[in-house]
Amino acid sequence: MGFSYELRPHTADIRISLRADTFPELFQAAVAALADILLPEGCQGKRLALHRRVALSAPDSTALLVDFLSEVLWQSQVRKALFCRFRVHSLAESTLQGVLSGIRVQGFQQDVKAITYHEARVDRLPSGYWASLVVDV
């Protein structure tokens, strides 16, 4: 069980590559990647005292991932919070429920405008899941 992410260059934006053993872990990877963009190392060693519920539905798994991360971004900016972990309560191909956990912050290092659908992909691999997203900064 596990996940990883990579932040890769794009002319004006940032491309996120995600890899996870399971579908729920793909969403955890996405939360960790966004936190790393917003405030690098901001989550390290912190007690996660802030919790927000998330419930979403979307037409397919790719849209679900994009819409989920857009929701995390919105929560981050409006609550002035950095979300470090996502605990999935229920997840199907197009619906998702769970709880985000994070910390209050004074600000972020990177101004993320949006999570785009541009070249967004979720693929099922023999060994797990892979996804790619472009973040507008």
């Binding site: 932040l7 890769r8 260059p9 794009h10 002319t11 004006a12 934006d13 940032i14 917003l38 037409p59 849209a63 819409d67 857009s70 919105w74 900016q77 409006v78 002035k80 912050v105 004074q106 600000g107 972020f108 290092q109 990177q110 101004d111 405008k113 949006a114 999570i115 785009t116 659908y117 541009h118 070249e119 967004a120 472009v134 507008d136 900064v137």
Partner: protein
């Protein structure tokens, strides 16, 4: 990747990919670039993205990019697409997430020599007065009712509240207010994201810059615009902040869901769109206009903050700061243009492109009407910015549009790998530029090396006859988040 052999040169700085290049293209893809800039453009996927734009329903004449084009998401950044009002679409991705990101230029009564001794102090005061960075709120936290008034009245709201002078309004594109705006079309989520952001600059490539006029290309036009050599000016670059970003996010989602209803098939989801005449298209248009009004009010609040700092440092001797002009470079507007020999109203998407109406156009402020609408082209940090005016070729060739900046050529990652922050600060210092920046990371990502040569970019639009060069501005203080 598109190769140079696929392009036909149709003018000294104009290239075209014919619609036969791909079966789904409805119109040609047209590129404004010198040979040197074209070589840079061909290194990323801007032109594939432009060809995708050429497939959209109702597109008129050509999908067009300017010399500062670079790869974006869905639409390339630096592009223009005009759509038929009946059969055409409206696309949030054709405008960008930062709705009405734009530029405002303030002129002062002082010369470089007069301001130089107080420059450090002025830069510090400006950094303090204009909230910047990510997550830092502005001087106002608006109630929902107040925010709705900002969304519907833009700079008119700022005028009523005492944040603008009467004269400012005449020198803002659309008078700083698009009347079609509807606050009810903007989601609660977007309003929450923008509630405390009015009067804030943000981060990334947004800035406030103090500069001076270092070269005049056309003295007579410069005089009409109120510019003279060595005069101190202030340039503001920002947009609709989180509110605009959320409006785009909301409506891309809405339009993706509506695509099957309208039988629209797209090569990239980020091109999500709806017929302008559809309920989804109309509602987005009204929300986009509201976000544009928010952006104009934002640049107005920043102007107010700058005027406070200016007075604080320079006192009465500092004189007044006048708005020379304010242009949007991420917007869609309904305008009159000649299409296939007939005057028609079309919806012009400008994503990283500036309106450039020629002399005589009724929407240009009366005092500038004989010379053309001012066009403000910010360069990369530490390099020159340019003031141009719209030229007759813009109406004939580009739906009254021109370029918007230097155009990024290096990713932020690459800039961080390449640029040494201490050396960058030293280089800027050696050029006599004072820097007030919230983060080293932000400074490095916006280093001049990450951008194309803005001088080469404006030379292309000048040669093409779509805008004329009037003046060059050199920075002396850069204020960033």
């Amino acid at each position: 990747m598109v190769r140079q052999e696929q392009l036909q040169q149709i003018g000294p700085v104009v290239w075209e990919i014919p619609p036969t290049a791909r079966p789904d293209m409805r119109v040609p893809a047209r590129i404004y670039a010198s040979e040197e800039l074209l070589e840079q453009i061909l290194r990323d996927r801007s032109l594939e993205q432009l060809m995708n734009v050429a497939t959209l329903p109702g597109i008129q004449q050509a999908a067009i990019v300017m010399p500062d084009v670079h790869e974006g998401y869905g639409f390339p950044i630096g592009g223009i697409a005009a759509m038929d009002l009946e059969e055409g679409i409206i696309s949030p991705g054709g405008i960008g997430y930062d709705i009405n990101c734009g530029v405002r230029l303030l002129t002062s009564e002082l010369s470089l020599q007069e301001v130089q001794p107080r420059l450090e102090q002025l830069a510090k005061a400006l950094y303090k007065a204009v909230p910047s960075g990510v997550g830092r709120g502005g001087p106002l936290k608006l109630s929902v009712r107040q925010l709705d008034r900002v969304l519907e009245y833009g700079v008119q709201w700022a005028l009523q509240e005492g944040y603008a002078e009467e004269a400012d309004v005449d020198f803002i594109e659309s008078g700083g207010r698009i009347p079609e705006a509807d606050a009810d079309a903007v989601s609660r989520e977007a309003k929450e994201r923008g509630r405390d952001q009015l009067g804030t600059m943000g981060a990334g490539n947004h800035f406030v810059e103090v500069g001076y006029v270092d070269k005049l290309f056309d003295e007579a036009v410069a005089r009409t615009l109120g510019l003279r050599l060595h005069q101190i000016v202030v340039l503001i670059h920002t947009g609709s902040r989180g509110l605009g970003h959320q409006v785009a996010t909301d409506y891309i989602r809405t339009m993706l869901a509506a695509l099957p209803r309208y039988g629209i098939r797209l090569p990239d989801r980020e091109l999500a769109c709806a017929p302008l005449s559809s309920p989804e298209g109309q509602r987005y248009f009204r929300a986009m206009c509201a976000a544009a009004n928010f952006a104009w009010a934002n640049r107005q609040l920043i102007t107010w903050e700058i005027r406070q700092a200016w007075r604080e440092v320079l006192g009465e001797a500092g004189g007044k700061l006048r708005v020379l002009y304010d242009v949007a470079h991420n917007i869609a507007k309904i305008e009159q243009h000649t299409v296939q020999g007939h005057m028609r109203r079309v919806l012009v998407h400008r994503k990283g492109a500036t309106r450039a109406f020629p002399p005589g156009h009724p929407e240009t402020p009366r005092v500038y009407r004989e010379v053309g609408q001012p066009v403000l082209i910010p360069g990369s940090m530490g390099t020159a910015s340019y003031v141009l005016v719209g030229a007759p070729g813009s109406m004939e060739q580009t739906f009254g549009s021109t370029c918007h900046g230097a155009g990024r050529q290096m990713s932020r990652h690459a800039a961080k790998r390449t640029v040494n922050p201490d050396r960058l600060r030293m280089e800027l210092q050696q050029q006599g530029i004072v820097v007030q920046a919230g983060s080293v990371r932000g400074l490095v990502e916006e280093a001049p090396v990450a951008y194309k040569d803005v001088g080469a970019v404006v030379q292309v639009v000048h040669t093409a006859g779509i805008a004329r060069m009037v003046a060059r501005l050199r920075p002396v203080a850069v204020i960033k988040g």
